[in-house]
């Protein structure tokens, strides 16, 4: 009984030291430590190309986008985080045509399921690479994706 008790203590110390061997080996091999200094290394941090950040409407350098306002992304969104306000414009040859007035995106409702980006027939939508989305006011989570004065890209129907 007594020897079992003493033996148990020594066994306990032995297994404790086995565990501490692992932790102390990392203490003497700092090159194996993988933690990152996050707020300081913001500049070097680069997300993967496939990273799903917020949804963006891609614009080219002439402030043109590819969104025709068909509303397929709005139908496919499971949470109702996309609203498209469309309007009718008259083109150069005098025809009336549907175009987007506002492409409203509620970031707070989005679950990043990629259904809108995948189903867009003209590949107008894409994912941004920004991962710091915290804001102080909930209203700032609602974004209008088309930039001011932007037009439909030529050749996109």
């Amino acid at each position: 009984m007594f020897f079992n008790y003493i033996g148990g203590i020594f066994k306990g110390i032995k297994t404790l030291l086995t565990g501490m061997k692992v932790t102390s080996s990392y203490f003497f091999r700092p090159s194996k430590i993988v933690t990152q200094k996050y707020p300081e290394n913001r500049k070097e941090l680069k997300m993967f190309d496939s990273f799903k950040g917020e949804v963006i409407l891609t614009h080219n350098e002439n402030n043109e986008h590819k969104c025709t306002g068909c509303g397929i992304c709005e139908i496919n969104c499971p949470n109702g985080s996309i609203e498209i306000v469309s309007m009718f414009i008259t083109t150069e040859d005098g025809k009336k045509k549907k175009a987007i007035d506002k492409h409203i995106y509620h970031l707070g409702m989005c679950t990043f399921c990629a259904l809108c980006v995948k189903t867009c027939p003209s590949n107008a939508l894409d994912f941004g690479k920004d991962f710091e989305q915290a804001v102080f006011d909930r209203a700032r989570l609602t974004k209008i994706l088309n930039k001011e004065g932007s037009k439909l890209m030529k050749g996109v129907e």
Binding site: G8, T23, P78, T111, C113
Partner: protein, 377 residues
């Protein structure tokens, strides 16, 4: 000093008195918002009543209003640690209903992704289980190695946790060119690291004292409660669906079903530790042989299932996850039922914890590996 009882008399009265306390809903050891109503005599648990529903979101009801591809993003949020397997279950169920066969490439990638998420899930479980029992170091070590898998997921699928990668008909996008290289790198690294896990926790005497002979669950009880997954296999209940009802590419790989017959907390621990090795074996057999081909079938824009009932089950990291879809021929399901493994596993906790100390209840609930959002749906 009149009226004050001597201390030994007070202690004996408290030990005889039955009293009821709440554990949770925000106790760190309950892994989420789950409340246990405990009846105690001294330190000994008389009975446990789990009260769930704190994170009920009505996911089954929500699925009745949305289309089949949209269900995927909700099953991600059931058991977030095995999101790939949940998505796979829905995808397979829809594919079986439509009687279509996905390309071989999709099957291989689905299996690899499922095994990777099983590894990540078991790593997180190991980390949290050690922390439940007071070994904080394990938490950092487990999360460190899980980070590699999450990086692989992020590179291919775009998200770390709720990937939404499977969809009816295949996958959302093809794997990243670096995928195979990174997975092989991870397995090479993790084979070196796994002995460290054993040194830190498995061989520790304090850990043995806290887990061996604690929370006994007999094979009969495991079957009658429907305890599946590693928790059921720790009691000798052979319930591995990957072996008995192979789906995806599991019929092409050679692996063992891990079974332990002790039925205590340590047996459930060992099942998961051995499963990590088996998962790595499965991935190694598949990773070099991914066939060329399409990553998805061309599906109709609106998927409508023929009228009828369809059921598909997969082995998630915690047990048998089932999807039962009743379709009336529309684009939305008429009714969807998810069989979540955690709910059945939780039901056994009362018979497991009776007669053990309150501190053992933490070890028992940790060894069941409960994920509360899956339980409450």
């Amino acid at each position: 000093m009149e009226g004050v009882l001597p201390i030994n008399q007070v202690v004996s009265e408290v030990e005889q008195q039955e009293y009821i306390i709440n554990m949770g809903p925000q106790h760190p050891s309950t892994h989420g918002v789950l409340r246990f109503l405990l009846s105690l005599k001294g330190e000994v648990v008389q009975y446990v009543q789990p009260h769930c529903g704190y994170i009920h979101r009505g996911i089954e009801k929500m699925t009745e209003k949305i289309t089949y591809p949209q269900i995927i993003h909700l099953t991600d949020r059931l058991d977030y640690l095995s999101a790939h397997m949940n998505n796979e279950a829905v995808s397979l169920c829809v594919e079986n209903a439509l009687q279509i066969e996905v390309p071989e490439r999709v099957k291989y990638i689905r299996t690899i992704m499922a095994e990777l998420s099983r590894l990540a899930s078991h790593q997180l479980w190991w980390a949290a289980f050690g922390m439940d029992l007071g070994a904080l170091t394990t938490f950092f070590y487990g999360l460190r190695d899980r980070e590699y898998i999450l990086d692989i997921f992020e590179q291919t699928t775009g998200s770390r946790l709720t990937q939404s990668y499977n969809c009816p008909g295949g996958l959302m996008n093809d794997i990243h060119p670096d995928f195979q290289k990174k997975v092989k790198e991870f397995i090479k690294n993790f084979r070196k690291v796994l002995p460290e896990y054993n040194q830190l926790l498995t061989g520790n005497v304090i850990f043995h004292e806290r887990t061996k002979g604690i929370g006994l669950l007999s094979k009969e009880d495991a079957i009658s409660f429907g305890v599946t997954g590693p928790s059921g296999r720790g009691s000798g209940f052979s319930c591995d669906l990957r072996k008995s009802h192979p789906y995806s590419a599991y019929d092409k790989v050679d692996f063992k079903e891990i079974l332990y017959t002790e039925g205590d907390t340590f047996a459930r621990y060992q099942v998961r530790m051995d499963e990590m090795l088996e998962s790595m074996n499965i991935i190694e057999q598949l990773i070099d042989n991914i066939p060329e081909g399409d990553y998805a079938l061309k599906m109709k824009a609106i998927i409508k299932l023929p009228e009828g009932e369809y059921y598909q089950r997969v082995e998630s990291a915690r047990g048998e996850f089932g999807v039962h879809i009743i379709s009336d021929g529309n684009k939305n399901p008429y009714r969807v039922k998810f069989r979540s493994p955690n709910f059945s596993n939780l039901s056994a906790i009362d018979s497991m914890a009776r007669g053990f100390k309150i501190a053992d209840l933490v070890a028992i609930s940790g060894s069941l590996d409960l994920v509360i959002p899956d339980l409450d749906k």
